[in-house]
Symmetry: C2
Subunit: 226 residues, 2 copies
Amino acid sequence: MDNKAFFKLTYGLFVAGTTWEDKQNACIINTATQATSEPGRMLATMMKTNYTTELIQKKGSLTISVLALDCPLNLIGNFGFSSGRDRNKFEEIPYALDEQGNPYLLEHIIARFSCKVEQTIDLGTHSLFVCAVTEAEVTGSGQPMTYASYRILKTGGSVPGLEKPETAAKATETAAAAVPEKPQKRWVCSVCHYVYDGEIPFEELPEDYVCPVCKRPKSVFVLEES
Amino acid sequence: MDNKAFFKLTYGLFVAGTTWEDKQNACIINTATQATSEPGRMLATMMKTNYTTELIQKKGSLTISVLALDCPLNLIGNFGFSSGRDRNKFEEIPYALDEQGNPYLLEHIIARFSCKVEQTIDLGTHSLFVCAVTEAEVTGSGQPMTYASYRILKTGGSVPGLEKPETAAKATETAAAAVPEKPQKRWVCSVCHYVYDGEIPFEELPEDYVCPVCKRPKSVFVLEES
C-alpha cells in the first residue's frame, strides 16, 4: 500500500460555513463533490475533531463557498490553519447569511451552495455529510482554486491561468523611480501566510510570539524580500 | 437555484473497473475522493443504471485507475461513451487484475487503487460506495487528467502542462518534404473520439453506420483535416 497514490487525486478548495447559537464559523475543505442532480445533492467529508464539523452536526446545515483561483492565500490561512474555538474567523471577512442563516463569503469565490444535511455517515475519524442543495449561485466567472494549485502557490510557484498580482517588487520599483528607498522586507508565516505588520520590528518580538492567525511559533516565519 | 454553480466544482477523471462471472467491465467516473486516511477509505458515486455499477454491487469490490493528463482521448471514449452490455471494453486495452480479480489499466494512468465496498448509500439515481482501500500504487509521475482539462482537450483546446503530441500535420509536413502528397483527412466521432480507419471511404458507408465504440450515428462524425 503506497499512500502517495492518494496525492494523485484531484480536489477543489472550499470554505464550509455554518452558524450555531449566533456564532459563525467555517473551515477549509477539499472534499466537496456533487452526488446527484435530481435532486441536487452534494457530499462533504470532514474531520470530526474540527470545530466546524461539530457545529454542522448541531445545526444540520452548511454553506459551501467555491474559492477562486486568484483568492489571496491568507484567506485560506484564515479559515484553514486555526480553530474557531479560539477566534472569530469572520472578523475581517465580508460575508452574507443564506436562508438557513449560514455564512458564505462575498469575495474571492466563484460559486456558493446552501446544503441541508440529509444523512451523516460515520467514518471513524471523519463524518461524511450527504446534503440536499437548497440554494446554488454562480458568483464569479473565474477558474476555481484547486488543491494542486494551492500547493504550488503556497511555495511561491506560478500556476497557469493565474496572472501574478502586481508584486511589492514592482510597486517598489515605481516608487524608486521617484524617491530611491530601501527594498521592502516582510515577515510571513510559512504556515498560514499571515504577513506581520506590527510596529515592533519582527526581530525584536519575544521568542514566545505566536502567529495571531494559526498560533504557530515565531520560528515558522520567513523573511520575504522584494 | 442556478445549476451552473455545479460546473464550478473540481474533479479528476478515473476508470472504475470490476469483474463479475469472468467478465471485466469498467466505466469513467469523476467522483472518486479520499474519505479517511486511517484506515484508507475512498468514496465513489455512480449512476445506478450504469452496467459497471450493477456489477460492482454484485461483486462488492472495484478498482479505481487515475487517468494521466496525457492519456489519449479515445481511451476515455472507449470506457465512457458506451455500455459493457454491448461490447468488451477491454478488448484492446492492456490491463492486469488486482488481488480481488478486478481489472486496472496498465497504460496512461498515474495511480491505481483497489477498493472493497463497505457501505452502499442509496441516493435515488446514484449509489454512493464507501470503500476500504486494500491496494494503492503510484504507477506514473505525471499530472492527473482533470474533468476541466478533458472538457478543453475534447474541443481541440490546449491545456497547460501538456505538450501536444507530434500532430498529423507535422508528420505530413515531414513526409511532404520527400514525396508531395495530399493532406491527411480523418473522420472522428465527435462523441467518443474514435477515429474511423475502415477500408471503405467514410462517405460511402451506409447511412445506418454507427460508431463501433459509442454506437452513435454516422451523423456525429466530423472530418478533421491536417
